[in-house]
Symmetry: C2
Subunit: 273 residues, 2 copies
């Protein structure tokens, strides 16, 4: 199944929550601290996955948290991806790695994501332009989320620069919607922390999917997201939460606490629909 088919199935079941699989060794439950990071990560995350799988629309590992542990971290990432694929083949995996090299070199990142890890979708950087991302864009069975407006407080430094009557992030969103999405495999990333920008981007891109990080810890609210980001079918959003779910408890009940938190967030989203 393609990413688009997998995510559509989840949306049809009114599932819009994505759980970010971003392990931080120091934040893991104490009983896992005796293990190696690789062992601790895989034990922690497989339990999180098992207890949230029926709630989420997607899982989103962010490569930075694994790379921090070098090759062992990559082994943990490989394990987590293959675990999801084996146990929950209907749940899409979005690899949040924000890559963006020039053409020739991007083949390595395409290989890494779609052949080695076999994820369904990735996040990429827009700065080098469409031509540089050709190796990604020609992957018709996979999906590409392009950074448009990032959730961090200082994202406006360049993204909100004015070009004639538009801001840079609006120009990027337009290019992605009009010129990059010719094969129907593009979406965008817009932070939950910027409601006005979410609304603007939705107007620009029509019914393309929006991956929305920044809920909770970073300050975005479900109400803002639902009000501003839904597409014409009242779908089209992938709302990510990482820390709030993963670290809902640091006791042995962590997976159950993560489930409760995920359920609460998911219910909050569907209630606002």
């Amino acid at each position: 199944m393609s990413f688009q088919e997998k995510i559509q199935n989840k949306w049809d079941q009114k599932k819009f929550l994505c759980v970010g699989l971003d392990p931080v060794f120091e934040k893991l439950p104490k009983h896992l601290h005796r293990k190696s990071p690789k062992q601790a990560f895989t034990q922690f995350l497989t339990q999180i996955i098992d207890r949230t799988a029926d709630i989420v629309c997607a899982f989103k590992p962010n490569s930075a948290f694994y790379e921090a542990y070098g090759a062992h971290g990559w082994e943990a990432l490989e394990y987590v991806c293959s675990y999801i694929q084996a146990a929950y083949p209907d749940i899409p995996i979005i690899l949040d790695y924000k890559r963006g090299d020039i053409g020739n070199t991007n083949h390595g990142y395409v290989e890494s994501a779609f052949e080695q890890l076999q994820v369904d979708a990735v996040t990429v950087q827009p700065y080098a332009g469409k031509e540089s991302l050709t190796p990604f864009l020609e992957q018709t069975d996979s999906f590409i989320f392009v950074l448009v407006k990032t959730s961090n407080p200082g994202s406006g430094e360049f993204q909100s620069l004015e070009l004639d009557d538009k801001k840079l992030y609006e120009v990027v969103a337009e290019h992605v919607a009009v010129e990059w999405n010719t094969k129907g495999n593009c979406g965008v990333v817009v932070g939950a922390t910027y409601s006005e920008e979410l609304k603007r981007v939705r107007t620009i891109i029509g019914d393309m999917p929006i991956l929305i990080p920044g809920l909770g810890s970073q300050g975005g609210t479900v109400k803002d997201i639902v009000t501003n980001a839904l597409d014409s079918k009242k779908q089209g959003i992938i709302v990510n939460s990482s820390r709030e779910v993963l670290y809902a408890s640091n006791g042995t009940d962590f997976a159950e606490a993560a489930r409760s938190k995920a359920q609460l967030l998911s219910d909050t989203i569907t209630k606002e629909l």
Copy 2:
């Protein structure tokens, strides 16, 4: 020694060539094809390193070529970095990984580059702004090259957009020079394929280092680089060549052929000075 000290020593010896350590299994000499990618990469690259070490100012592995082989690729990258550090501690390593997540998450990439791989410098994406890159910028012992004008044919899509009387890449260069470089640990990346832009960026950033990819295979010439990119001390450039050096021969003489090519490129640079 800091990156700045290491590179200054090399510049003082009139060394400006950087060899990009970008292994592609299919392009390796035939006698290495029987080995695993990890074995083939480390055997190939350690010989390239040994035969070019006295010519170069830096080595630049690009993470994409290693990640293509997952955890095994990362092991090869770890090996290559530790080999250079042990055998040639005076040669700086620039990890070309073009990362750029938001603040909290960048700690993983900082850890990966400066603690795990212990490289001297990295390349990063500007799109999320200075605030997002704080975990990098506060690494005063390390060095950060920010993408300003990439070498690919389509890099103008956003980088050449007009904002009042400036282009986006000029604004990025200005921000990096004036606001980001408060700890003196920033440089920029400008492709050899864009002479006018190289000249503009040099005017904007003063004597900050410029990492210049795109020589040779991509079409940039040494004359263009030297004419446009030198700083006020006739230094300040790191001119990268990858494919032309690495794959100068695909026989058993590959390391000697790489040395000859590197020597030729280095001589061409010093002759133009």
